[in-house]
Symmetry: C2
Subunit: 392 residues, 2 copies
Amino acid sequence: MTSSFHPPQRTLMGPGPSDVNPRILEAMSRPTIGHLDPLFVQMMDEMKELLQYAFQTQNELTIPVSAPGSAGMETCFVNLVEPGDTVIVCQNGVFGGRMKENVERCGATAVMVEDEWGRACDPQKLEDALKAHPEATTVAFVHAETSTGATTDVKTMCKIAHHHDCLAIVDAVTSLGGTELRVDEWGVDAIYSGTQKCLSCTPGLSPVSFSAAAVERIRNRKTRVQSWFLDLNLVMGYWGSGTKRAYHHTAPINALYALHEALVLLKNEGLEHAWARHASHHRALKAGLEALGLRFVVPEAERLPQLNAVTIPDGVDDAAVRGLLLNDYNLEIGAGLGVMAGKVWRIGLMGYACRKDNVLKCVSALDEVLNRVGASGTQGRAMAATLAAYGD
Amino acid sequence: MTSSFHPPQRTLMGPGPSDVNPRILEAMSRPTIGHLDPLFVQMMDEMKELLQYAFQTQNELTIPVSAPGSAGMETCFVNLVEPGDTVIVCQNGVFGGRMKENVERCGATAVMVEDEWGRACDPQKLEDALKAHPEATTVAFVHAETSTGATTDVKTMCKIAHHHDCLAIVDAVTSLGGTELRVDEWGVDAIYSGTQKCLSCTPGLSPVSFSAAAVERIRNRKTRVQSWFLDLNLVMGYWGSGTKRAYHHTAPINALYALHEALVLLKNEGLEHAWARHASHHRALKAGLEALGLRFVVPEAERLPQLNAVTIPDGVDDAAVRGLLLNDYNLEIGAGLGVMAGKVWRIGLMGYACRKDNVLKCVSALDEVLNRVGASGTQGRAMAATLAAYGD
């Protein structure tokens, strides 16, 4: 007989997926109902309101795309960009590079504005690029770079984009629910996120939101959206308002139960409380990591609390350390991505994973494992620093 | 406090999603682990083998796309079709029309071969179209039309396609696991399915398989695949063989647990047994539906056991009947789609939903409800006919 798969219980402190709240896993296993069932349609309406709260927006078109964050990114580009367009892409990590791929596959030109990996995007460089490219229609950048842990000033960037009559596409995969994000107040036109980061949900869906200006552009395209599956003109018929919904594709029912539950948890905690929680555990983790002699990649003012990229000490074997953490502690931390592969670890503190017991487990396990692979141990100093940061 | 969503326990006998086996729901709620975790990678390898069994293929590139069946369809077209190509699309229902949309959005020309809705695709018409269009590179058609319940002779159609040096793309969304399907023996080059039909899994993933000739075409494209998310040249880096997997997008971990469990259940039942089970319950349901005076849309020889499209009796209110079945019996049957909206019901017998208790429930509930809305009741004759078909 072929066997069922029984995964171990890991502690997920990488760049995502993060630990999933057991309440969300339970919600996911509730009975499947039809995607046009009136009770399901009611749930979809609640979901839109909960997503509006999470994104801090009144945007009518605020829905989950039925595929992971990468498909959310593609949804933004294929709907807002047409062949021949010019898009300014500000890149400060891996995901800006993926934006460029998206732009080019839409038959448009990507003008790249490069920033150092591990730093925020520089608004002045965006301003300069827009002056040099008055033909640009769209600006795109990442709010929270998952590859480095750097955050960018969304409000200032969007203001500059609008000043040059461009729409702004923002990647919020790692920020939603973890750090301050205000779609309406900051003037974001199109934003996408993922479920498996600070929402602590299972991976597989991508919440997106589009401003009225973005929807107008989508409705008035000269060419058809190149993706049938991601064409918002069609998707809106299913996720639109009223009780009459047009079948487009079969919605991932149980994954949507899970996201609904994750958003209920976020609403009940309160966004500001969730942001403060991420900041507070980050301070404790930072004290511990620094006591271990690990240096942060990103300067403090541009650093995300939920993604801690630290440099691997000289002579320490990256894969060996991660393997020992996984096998002996069931603890997953992330490897470096792109040019940072082998040079950094990415330690996530996202959503349900962002708790004191995880911070303490991570610091003590790293201390022991680093000592085992030949780096000097701290004889309890790292843990003491962590506890002190908690005020204990 | 915002509340959790608690769906009712429905009996799903529409065109999908179908009833999900509780074992699959339980598997879906197992702890989330990382998408590069060595244990997860092992599970992926098992998944590929289980999918190869379900599709009856040795194709190396046999994987689940991380999005619903519509995205599986798009995966086939965007990878195999290039701008300027000619694709012969045989249409005998809604989903052939969606194939046309896909072809055109790839910048290619769709030559439509129209067949009557409710009938199989006619191989002779395909032969004629290929003679008239020697420039064609690809043929596409639906094995099991979910909108009508008609099945098409895949083996003959693929043979004709190959004779004209075309690759054949086949939609198996509703057939996989429910009726005979032999990818290698029948010469299919690219095939996509869904998880929420005869696999009885939750919706959200799309199993696909590509022949060596299809993979060769993908590797030798002149243009880039227009979708980054669905570009198999990139996806293969994650789903490929060996222990080293390149991150592409975050896999929908828990949805994959569910699909793995669904495939284990299918493997342990045995494909031929599953096909026979669908045929046997279909015979009983058919006896009951015919005793109720409902006529099948599709001639018997071209009829799918798992999707029973029957015409709505004159003067009977479509929506009222479906509403009563849903509210009073928690029983979902499907409405007509496209030109068949309001004219037919689609009664699914898929996977876990394909069982005797469901057949009996459906026949007795329909008998009572039809009587309530003014059609003549059968005074137990429909149930007697159903039981007789079971040999009871």
